[in-house]
Symmetry: C2
């Protein structure tokens, strides 16, 4: 499973364009090219295969492969028997040992940690349940550090070295600071520096120095992308809207296989797209936001279900499956609101797929119809550019798996930086 790194701002491409290309950056570029070529093949490939696929000379490929072998990014495997003349070539594949990514997650009712190796496989995954609402951030991050330390130790026992850590939080993030995480009651919490220092004190200085903080819906979208790409390498460049239903309603937008965060990094706030300008009051203070129509609380209230029960969403799905009118009406109403908002996203961003994640995944059977109907009614271009609505393929682990995978993708995108600067 391979996922996208935390993205660069929209203008980064233009900045690259204005950098001079010299011999050093040529090597940097081509190292990545060779590594990704090996990664793109489901079976081991030879140096000659890589040369043929990339257009580089065999001599150049050999030099670059030697660097990638020395850095534990590639391994050689036994040559496969081959038809035709000449001795069989040595195969290359991504190293299953060596650098790996650590994903961490703070959610409202659990902490999680996950390790993904360079091949994209999940190697370790731990979840600690706990009600974290209103707990002091320093305490939460201390517990997360303990979980990280145990996970890194388990990874080390498997010969995996953690190349970096990405932590998912359910809130607005900028520059490593959680500006606002309403369900945790966090305001202006400097997660990157606090967690980085805690990891350093716990003996993980290199990991602590690498911490990236990211919104959970963005990372869940990357987790979904990685799961698709694992099943079909062509999906690595997919474009979709991932809707993450939880206590709030979040979204991650992926364009061409890259996370799209808008001009300043705060994009994707689907939960606050207006459904009706004079609708019910949202927690954000505005009226008629999607979140006020389609979050967990709104659905459970409309269905007449106890909102405090741990398994409330599962009960809503059970009632809908049994044909209970109140449950079906509640889910249909949420689906219509989700469809109105998704249609606006498609009108503006023209994605071809809408993914229902989080609590919407187990309810997808009853949501896909109304969401799709609103999109086909409201998207001007739907007749030329159809849109698919589907349930997410990953469960609740999408977020933490996406977080770990984002570290791995950073190495795969820029192996030269890892070879020279890795911990």
């Amino acid at each position: 499973m391979v996922v996208d790194p935390v993205p660069r701002p929209a203008s980064a491409g233009a900045a690259d364009r204005d950098a001079p290309v010299r011999q050093r950056s040529l090597r940097t570029h081509n190292l990545g090219l060779v590594l990704r070529q090996v990664a793109a093949c489901p079976h081991p490939v030879s140096r000659a295969d890589v040369a043929a696929a990339t257009g580089l000379t065999k001599a150049t490929v050999s030099t670059l492969v030697d660097e990638l072998l020395a850095g534990a990014l590639l391994v050689e495997v036994d040559p496969a028997p081959r038809s035709g003349a000449g001795r069989p070539a040595v195969g290359l594949r991504l190293a299953p040992h060596g650098p790996a990514g650590l994903g961490l997650e703070v959610n409202v009712d659990y902490l999680a940690a996950c390790v993904v190796d360079l091949t994209g496989s999940v190697r370790h995954h731990r979840v600690d349940s706990a009600d974290l609402r209103g707990r002091p951030p320093a305490q939460v991050l201390a517990d997360l550090t303990d979980l990280a330390v145990a996970t890194v130790a388990a990874a080390a026992a498997d010969d995996l070295r953690i190349a970096g850590a990405t932590v998912a939080v359910p809130g607005l993030v900028a520059d490593g600071v959680v500006r606002l995480a309403p369900n945790l009651e966090w305001h202006e919490v400097a997660v990157r520096s606090m967690l980085g220092e805690a990891l350093t004190r716990a003996g993980l200085a290199a990991v602590g120095a690498s911490v990236i903080v990211e919104n959970e819906a963005n990372l869940a979208a990357l987790g979904e992308l990685g799961a698709w790409a694992e099943a079909d390498p062509g999906a690595e460049r997919a474009s979709f809207l991932y809707i993450s239903g939880e206590i709030g309603v979040g979204a991650g937008i992926v364009l061409g296989g890259r996370l799209f965060r808008g001009a300043r990094g705060f994009g994707g706030e689907l939960g606050h797209v207006t459904i009706r300008p004079d609708g019910p009051r949202c927690r954000c203070g505005a009226r008629g936001c999607l979140e006020a129509y389609a979050n967990q609380e709104a659905m459970l209230r409309a269905a007449g279900l106890d909102r405090s029960a741990d398994d409330a969403v599962a009960r809503l799905a059970t009632q809908a499956a049994a044909g209970a009118p109140a449950a079906l009406a509640a889910v249909a109403e949420a689906g219509t609101a989700l469809g109105v908002a998704a249609a606006s996203v498609v009108n503006l961003i023209d994605v071809d797929t809408v993914v229902l994640g989080g609590i919407y995944a187990p309810l997808a059977e009853w949501l896909i119809g109304p969401v799709g109907r609103e999109i086909s009614d409201r998207v001007l271009t739907a007749q030329w550019a159809p849109v698919t609505v589907r349930a997410s393929v990953l469960g609740p682990s999408a977020t933490v798996v996406g977080a770990a995978g984002s570290v791995v993708r950073t190495i795969r995108d820029a192996p030269a930086a890892w070879l020279t600067g890795g911990p």
Copy 2:
């Protein structure tokens, strides 16, 4: 005035990433780097200045500059007297003669043509008024060809060679075909091939082979970007939503100085973002679209003004300026709807500026308030990432100037392609 080229799809960057870098592409990259460095300075610069600014060696810069001089992209100018030792260096600047861009525009009530030279200056600009609703597309494109021929001849008399043409249409465009232009009553019109053949028959084969077809709001947004960049080079990387009010409501989204068209090229359909799911019927068939609340017809009807008068919008502005309650209420209602839709765009794409163009520009005095109010009420991140609402700086010429400028920007982005393949 320098504007963005018609953009590549979102995944193009990833495709570039997987191309090998060899000596040839190194030269290609560095030619662009040198040309843009000269373009970025308001005064002539020396070869040594370019070397210092780009990090390339003086010898490399000299070789590249010679190529750009030979291709008529740069010119040498008299050395400025210089303090310090040594003889003054020869200055370099963009060539005011040589390659230039041709912009063409089909609107509902006029045709237009425009030539922009490599420095970004508008050199020719012609507008022919005519009611084009319901006229056969072939007739309209024949008239546009006549206008193009006359404009190219005028440019040739000024020693300008047309490097390519971009044509703006008020509709949905894909692959050179206008899928739908409701106000022209065009459906599936192959504008690129029809206009290309007409230009070729008229003796402009090279221009005919270069035709690009683009939505008018997208090109108006690029025209606006170019006007900003002319006033302030730092604005070349601006991000904004440009709202184009006409018979319909269009939009162009610019991110980091590049047009953003979404995953499949149909993005930016602001006019069909939902304001109220059960609102008035829109021409597109859906209910409650922005266009049904805020287009020209909706405002004039609400103000009780004659919708058929040529100067109806000017009269609406006059009445608003005079404090007429019906006019003020009509504009405020449109402004509220525009603000609800713009807030959804900011929540999703996080642009920092909203530009009111087309018929909204002369009404901006009364629109900016309600648009800004809805944005600050409805955008979750407005307190960390403020949003400015302003009138467009260009008049109705934004579209055709943007179209011509997009050709010039293509050359400035990739001069090597022009040097080897120019007409």
